[in-house]
């Protein structure tokens, strides 16, 4: 590739150097780490490397991963969405109410799911409006939205969960299609969709352009205002879908839940290679990152690690993720 590499006498060192310049260096390295961690865990406990356990891991990360995909869009375009956790709690409420009111009728279930997605999109739309037209910083705008969502759902429900969701709906969160959890199937479908968008569409290219240099993108004729709102709506839609699965998994609407999703989705995105300052990162990386976090959490649970210690481990993971990112920048 160039003289520095050609000069490296040791052929293995040469191959490694060449590798660091590879387009998918981060993703491949992450996959390697995942494999190594899995290998170590399989040695430490016989329960890890079972089909059942692995599918459980995927099921557990599915919600966070879907949110992480939406979050990745936002971060790549130089933004942030802090409202995801509270929005999930808020979305759970109308979804639950509509479905319960229908007594399990499929029409009402469909309506409930639709309302979840629509409300998620609406939250994203408002975030976008605040950021684009009121010129609020994304951090502030979504932080405010987080408060509004949380306050709204807590005051309406007075903090009480809403129970009574029918089995037909609960299937979405807990059911299996053959050996595969249904929520994992949803996650993979969304994965395919976001990979398509980012790699093969003009819109995807625009997202990266806005993240790389917003002013240059604007001066190149890209309608930055419009696309920014769309990007936050995508995050909102992902939150909507995640909210539906979440309610189904818990068989209830939980107005106080959802906060860990914020931290975990951002961590998954960053671990996956999405730089906080925007312009880079792939959806494949996000998926691998989310799975890696899921595997580490699962491993810790199987090994009976103190749950508070698990927090520490999660924090260390973020540090490692961010450091490797900035080291790569040179």
């Amino acid at each position: 590739m160039d003289e520095t590499i050609r000069e490296t006498k040791n052929p293995i060192a040469r191959l490694l150097k060449q590798f660091t310049y590879h387009k998918y260096f981060h993703e491949i390295t992450l996959l390697f780490v995942l494999i190594i961690v899995s290998f170590i865990l399989s040695l430490l406990t016989p329960y890890f490397l079972t089909m059942r356990n692995l599918l459980i891991v995927l099921q557990q990360v599915s919600i966070t991963t879907i949110i992480a995909f939406g979050m990745a869009f936002v971060i790549i375009s130089q933004g942030i969405d802090l409202s995801v956790g509270a929005a999930i709690a808020l979305i759970g409420l109308p979804v639950a109410k509509i479905i319960i009111a229908g007594g399990g009728a499929p029409l009402y279930i469909a309506l409930g799911i639709l309302s979840g997605v629509v409300i998620g999109a609406l939250i994203g739309f408002v975030n976008g409006l605040n950021i684009v037209y009121l010129k609020m910083a994304p951090f502030i705008a979504t932080l405010a939205m987080m408060s509004i969502c949380r306050g709204t759902v807590l005051s309406i429900t007075k903090g009480q969960p809403v129970f009574g969701l029918p089995n037909s709906f609960i299937f979405i969160g807990n059911g299996f299609v053959g050996p595969i959890p249904f929520s994992v199937i949803i996650m993979l479908v969304i994965f395919a969709a976001v990979v398509w968008i980012t790699e093969f569409t003009a819109f995807g290219r625009t997202v990266y352009a806005m993240g790389g240099n917003e002013e240059a993108a604007r001066l190149a004729g890209i309608n930055v205002k419009k696309y920014r709102i769309v990007i936050y709506m995508i995050s909102g839609i992902c939150v909507g879908i995640a909210g539906v699965i979440f309610s189904a998994r818990l068989a209830s609407a939980q107005p106080a839940a959802g906060d860990p999703f914020l931290f975990n989705s951002i961590t998954a995105a960053i671990l996956g290679g999405v730089a906080l300052f925007g312009g880079s990162g792939t959806m494949v990386g996000v998926l691998i990152g989310a799975v890696l976090i899921g595997v580490i959490n699962n491993g810790q649970a199987l090994l009976n690690v103190d749950p508070y210690l698990q927090h520490v481990v999660r924090g260390i993971i973020v540090l490692i993720a961010v450091t490797t990112g900035s080291l790569r920048k040179g």
């Binding site: 590739m1 160039d2 003289e3 520095t4 310049y21 398509w196 093969f200 569409t201 003009a202 290219r205 625009t206 990266y208 352009a209 790389g212 240099n213 002013e215 240059a216 993108a217 604007r218 001066l219 190149a220 004729g221 890209i222 309608n223 205002k225 312009g279 880079s280």
Partner: protein
């Protein structure tokens, strides 16, 4: 000027590699005491790299550096500063809200007494002394708000003197200065050299090199081609060394085959910097926009392009009034803008290929997806057409030289089927070879029917390619010239 041997600073056989390029190939460079030594060369020749090795920004791969006969290792910016090397960049490292004296003492503010208070008296006194030595009158207690680039530069120099620097490295110091300020700067540099400083002076402006420098070194492709006393060389000889071949005196053939009027601007105003501007341009015409700094040229093109908001006036394209509220509108109507700051025209993380297609992604779409093959082929076509020097179209654009980046931006507007192109200082800071190529590209585009509005401070360029030149002053178009026989004619018209 008293010149003493041996050399104060000697760099021997310096090598530096970056991915894909050998930036410095066994370059040797000596700076003699009390000398102004100019460093010239095209973009990509290695000037910035050599300087970066000296100021600690990058580490050399091979070679040695000697200061006053002793070998030194520069591992960081701190090392460089401690050794007495001071770099005056184009980006100003100043803090606008504290006083001039504090800026001069930045990082080294004197404190005294039990309570460790800032010793303002000492700071002000020393700062005044330094400025007196330079022959500059500035109130050291005021803050920097309202000070122009020229004064900021002087403060950077003062800081270097405070640090007891022996060697000043000046990188394109006159890029944003007017004639008067340049004279002042040269006077100060000569004073400093007389009192013991040595200066490395990097510039694209060869006329300045002849005015101020004692010696000159020409770099090309990472090699030191020649080092000589300025009196031994002529401008043509230096250019020949820079390019590696004799530059044939180009005969630029203006396009006189003009079509109907394509753009009319009537009474356009925008904020304070653009007042009531009116002009029109025909198909195939190249119009020059000349004027002093702050005359409103950039504001005029940005407002037409929708990048800045207009407060009054009308724009008509092909006779029909249009409403351009954003660059997106402008691009859709066939306009293009090559910005004054190159960084506003490229996405640094994107490859050359992706930058070229950025403004017209529709063209490479095939049924909802981007056609990679089509994109590759288009990028290769433009690379060949505009002679863009890249190893591959997948190369990150930030790795290209300024001139090549500029060509990529041109390609972007060509790909977007631009009919009316605004060029804001398209040849600024670009090496001689690329500059000529770009001017030829402009004429070729005009011949094919594109209308070009060319903002330039280089009167030579304007004379070469323009059909008409508009002079702007204080936000208005004050004069329209149909004939301009020479650069000095234009210069005097602008300075009226």
């Amino acid at each position: 000027m008293i010149k003493t041997d041996p050399a104060l600073l000697r760099m021997e056989r310096i090598t530096k590699r970056f991915p894909g390029v050998l930036a410095l190939d066994n370059v040797s460079f000596s700076l003699r005491e009390r000398t102004i030594h100019a460093l010239v060369g095209q973009n990509g020749a290695g000037k910035s790299t050599l300087i970066n090795v000296l100021n600690g920004s990058i580490r050399k791969d091979g070679g040695s550096v000697y200061l006053a006969g002793q070998e030194i290792e520069i591992r960081s910016a701190t090392d460089s500063l401690n050794l007495g090397l001071a770099c005056i960049h184009q980006e100003m490292f100043i803090v606008p809200d504290v006083s001039i004296a504090e800026n001069v003492f930045l990082g080294d503010i004197p404190i005294r007494g039990f309570y460790r208070k800032v010793d303002f008296a000492l700071m002000h006194r020393k700062a005044r002394e330094i400025f007196a030595e330079m022959g500059v009158e500035l109130d050291v207690r005021r803050n920097l708000r309202g000070l122009g680039v020229a004064e900021q530069q002087l403060i950077m120099i003062a800081r270097a003197l405070h640090r007891q620097s022996r060697i000043l490295i000046m990188d394109e110091p006159t890029a944003s200065l007017d004639t008067h300020e340049i004279e002042n700067l040269f006077r100060i540099i000569r004073n400093l050299v007389a009192s013991g400083q040595s200066v490395i002076y990097i510039s694209h402006y060869l006329n300045e090199v002849f005015k101020i420098a004692d010696e000159v070194t020409v770099l090309r492709n990472g090699n030191n081609i020649i080092t000589a006393s300025v009196s031994e060389l002529s401008e043509e000889m230096i250019i020949e060394h820079m390019l590696g071949y004799r530059e044939e005196s180009k005969d630029f053939i203006r396009n006189d085959n003009l079509g109907p009027v394509v753009l009319e601007v009537e009474n356009l105003s925008s904020g304070k910097l653009l007042r009531d501007a009116s002009f029109s341009i025909r198909e195939g015409e190249v119009i020059g926009l000349a004027g002093l700094l702050g005359s409103g040229r950039t504001e005029l093109v940005r407002t037409i392009f929708g990048a800045d908001r207009k407060t009054a006036g009308e724009v008509k394209i092909n006779g029909l009034p249009v409403s351009i509220n954003s660059p997106a509108d402008a691009v859709r109507l066939g306009l293009g803008l090559l910005t004054e700051q190159r960084l506003q025209g490229i996405i640094p993380q994107f490859s050359v290929k992706k930058n070229i297609t950025l403004s017209n992604l529709k063209k490479i779409m095939k049924l909802f997806r981007l056609d990679q093959k089509e994109e590759d082929s288009i990028a290769k076509q433009y690379t060949k057409l505009l002679n863009i020097k890249v190893m591959s179209i997948l190369q990150k654009i930030s790795n290209l030289s300024g001139g090549n980046q500029q060509k990529v931006i041109f390609a972007k507007w060509l790909h977007s089927d631009t009919k009316i192109l605004f060029l804001d200082e398209a040849t600024k800071g670009i090496d001689v070879g690329a500059k000529v190529e770009i001017l030829e590209i402009v004429l070729e585009l005009a011949r094919k029917g594109m209308s070009v509005i060319l903002i330039s401070s280089e009167f030579t360029d304007l004379v070469r390619v323009c059909n008409r030149v508009l002079i702007m002053k204080k936000g208005r178009i004050v004069r329209e010239l149909e004939s301009f026989p020479s650069e000095s004619f234009l210069q005097s018209e602008v300075n009226v």
